[in-house]
């Protein structure tokens, strides 16, 4: 059975692009265009992985969704891949403050995501 991936992003073009790449690799992809419906869909379909956009209508909506996912007993085990354009300022990052333990998610990746990076990150998270 193919793995289920839920994409939560308010940009339909990005959603479609990611969907196309993931589907061509045999994933079963569903999507939501805002945090609230994303959380509802996650509840209902229990995906194997969630790809979450940091910047949705409000600047920190993605972060709030991430916290809610990680607080829910049902959903906290689902790995979350956060797609961000926040870290756009510097490529030279090793500041402990921006280390991954600051975000309650399994991985984050800077937009635009290269197809190969997307697939390899998704595979890595699903294996873990």
């Amino acid at each position: 059975m193919s793995k289920k991936v839920l994409i939560i992003d308010d940009d339909p073009d990005i959603v479609e692009a990611e969907k196309m790449i993931l589907e061509s690799h045999g994933y079963d992809v569903d999507s939501a265009s805002d945090g609230e419906s994303g959380l509802a869909k996650a509840e209902k379909t229990k995906p194997d992985l969630i790809i979450l956009d940091v910047m949705m209508s409000t600047m920190d909506q993605g972060f709030q969704v991430a916290y809610k996912l990680k607080q829910s007993p049902d959903l906290k085990k689902i790995p979350v891949l956060m797609a961000t354009s926040v870290g756009q300022v510097t490529k030279f990052k090793f500041d402990p403050k921006t280390d991954s333990d600051f975000l309650p998610v399994e991985a984050y990746i800077e937009k635009p995501i290269k197809p190969a990076d997307l697939i390899s990150t998704v595979e890595r998270l699903l294996r873990a």
Binding site: D11, I14, I21, S24, S85, T90, K91, K93, F94, P112
Partner: protein
């Protein structure tokens, strides 16, 4: 135009500070005058042979001036720091200055009267007050002061001449001056004073005008700069998401439909995606530049950062890139920590810009060196490479926005010409300097000097 009015009242603020400052300086100058008067009596009597000098009266006048100046100091302090904490009242300061000038002139005339009258060569000391008035006061008041000087001097000369006031010659040799001499002295004094005031006030007026123009221009430049930064932030933000979407869709097409599209089409797609990527780099750099510029105005939170540790960690991210081109990355650090007051993000940008440039413009098999040294109270970073170098004629433009050297463009298409402009901006904001030294086809060295915390 309300904006304009705001500008003009703003312009008055420095002038007000200037006026109070100059009044204070005027007060300090007066201590010298008191000292000079005390010295003049014994010197005049013993050394210069003015045995008839009225020492007692002159010393009494010096004492009076001393007491007056003590009062001035107190008043000056009170005016400088009003109790309500506001800025000094311009009208009061001007009145204070006028009162000082008036009392000074009376005392000077009295001193002259008791020490030879118009035959005392010091009678030209009136000119100091005239010049100071034309700096401190309005043009009209300055001419008023000149008229007052001439009036006092003339009155003294005439009253002494007609015997209303008894003359006090400096010594027995001094004869009573003739009517012609008195008239000539008054005329000489009058023309000198009015010429001086004319010259001083017209120079002052031109200076004030220039100052106003400069200040206005400076304000306009500041405003333009801020508008530019805001515009840059807005544009690069707005451009970013559509470009990200374009790039994502192009990539997705290439991956998902590679079989039905054919080799040529997939290659075109990947080239389109690369072009979108360089556009993204540009927006990113523009955003950084604008942010750095606005950081200059709003001081960001800074802490003492050990730049050696920061560099040691950060350089790891460039190992892969260097290995790929078989470039040797050499590092050297002093034994002590390099503590500089900065923020992590800014310093990361400086390091990553310089190191990634060095790697980018160095052909495979070359060498890139990163070294920190302590030079007195400053930290010195050198990032050197054995790369393509910079033509000498282009060296002066290296830190300009959007500038890329001719050979750099040929060497690689990627690069926006903003990295070094951003770097320079940051280094200068941190109170440091950046310089480049390079030889074509041999390599370049960028040197950054930063003040230690």
């Amino acid at each position: 135009m309300p904006d304009h009015e705001v500008g003009i009242t703003d312009l008055l603020v420095p002038r007000r500070a200037e006026l109070t400052e100059r009044v204070a300086w005027f007060v300090r100058l007066r201590w010298l005058a008191v000292g000079g008067m005390l010295l003049a009596v014994p010197v005049g009597k013993k050394l210069l042979g003015f045995e008839k000098i009225d020492g007692q009266r002159i010393l009494a006048l010096a004492g009076a001036l001393f007491l007056l100046n003590c009062c001035y100091v107190l008043i000056s302090r009170a005016l400088h720091r009003p109790r309500d904490g506001g800025s000094p009242d311009l009208r009061k300061v001007e009145l204070f200055a006028k009162a000082q000038v008036l009392l000074d002139l009376l005392i000077l005339t009295a001193i002259l009267h008791y020490s030879g009258g118009i035959r005392n060569p010091f009678s030209f000391y009136y000119i100091f007050h005239v010049i100071i008035s034309s700096i401190l006061l309005s043009r009209r008041s300055a001419y008023g002061v000149a008229a007052l000087c001439l009036g006092l001097f003339g009155a003294m000369a005439l009253l002494e001449h007609f015997g209303v006031l008894s003359a006090h010659p400096l010594n027995a040799l001094q004869q009573k001056p003739s009517a012609g001499y008195v008239l000539t002295a008054i005329m000489a004094m009058g023309t000198t004073l009015f010429t001086a005031i004319f010259m001083a006030t017209s120079i002052m007026q031109r200076l004030k005008q220039k100052e106003d123009e400069l200040e206005k221009a400076w304000r306009e430049v500041k405003q333009l700069e801020a508008t530019k930064s805001r515009f840059l932030v807005l544009v690069s933000h707005e451009m970013r998401s559509p470009i990200v979407a374009i790039r994502s869709m192009l990539d997705a097409l290439g991956v998902a439909y590679s079989k039905c599209l054919g080799e040529k089409a997939v290659e075109m797609l990947s080239r389109a995606s690369e072009r979108a990527d360089s556009l993204l780099t540009l927006t990113k750099d523009l955003l950084t530049l604008a942010r750095q510029q606005s950081m200059q105005e709003h001081q960001t939170e800074q802490e003492i950062v050990d730049l050696a540790a920061l560099t040691r960690n950060g350089i790891l991210l460039f190992k892969a890139e260097a290995d790929e081109k078989s470039i040797v990355l050499k590092e050297s650090y002093p034994e002590k920590a390099i503590g500089v007051r900065t923020d992590h993000d800014s310093m990361n940008l400086v390091l990553s810009n310089l190191i990634s440039n060095a790697i980018r413009y160095t052909p495979a098999g070359g060498q890139v060196g990163v070294s920190w040294q302590l030079e007195g109270r400053r930290a010195m970073l050198k990032v050197s490479d054995t790369g393509i170098g910079i033509p000498e004629s282009e060296l002066p433009h290296m830190f300009k926005e959007f500038f890329r050297a001719e050979n750099a463009r040929k060497f690689t298409a990627s690069g926006t010409g903003l990295g070094l402009a951003i770097t320079k901006n940051i280094v200068e904001r941190l109170g440091g300097t950046i310089a480049v030294d390079s030889r074509l086809n041999e390599g370049s060295t960028f040197t950054v000097m930063l003040p230690l915390a």
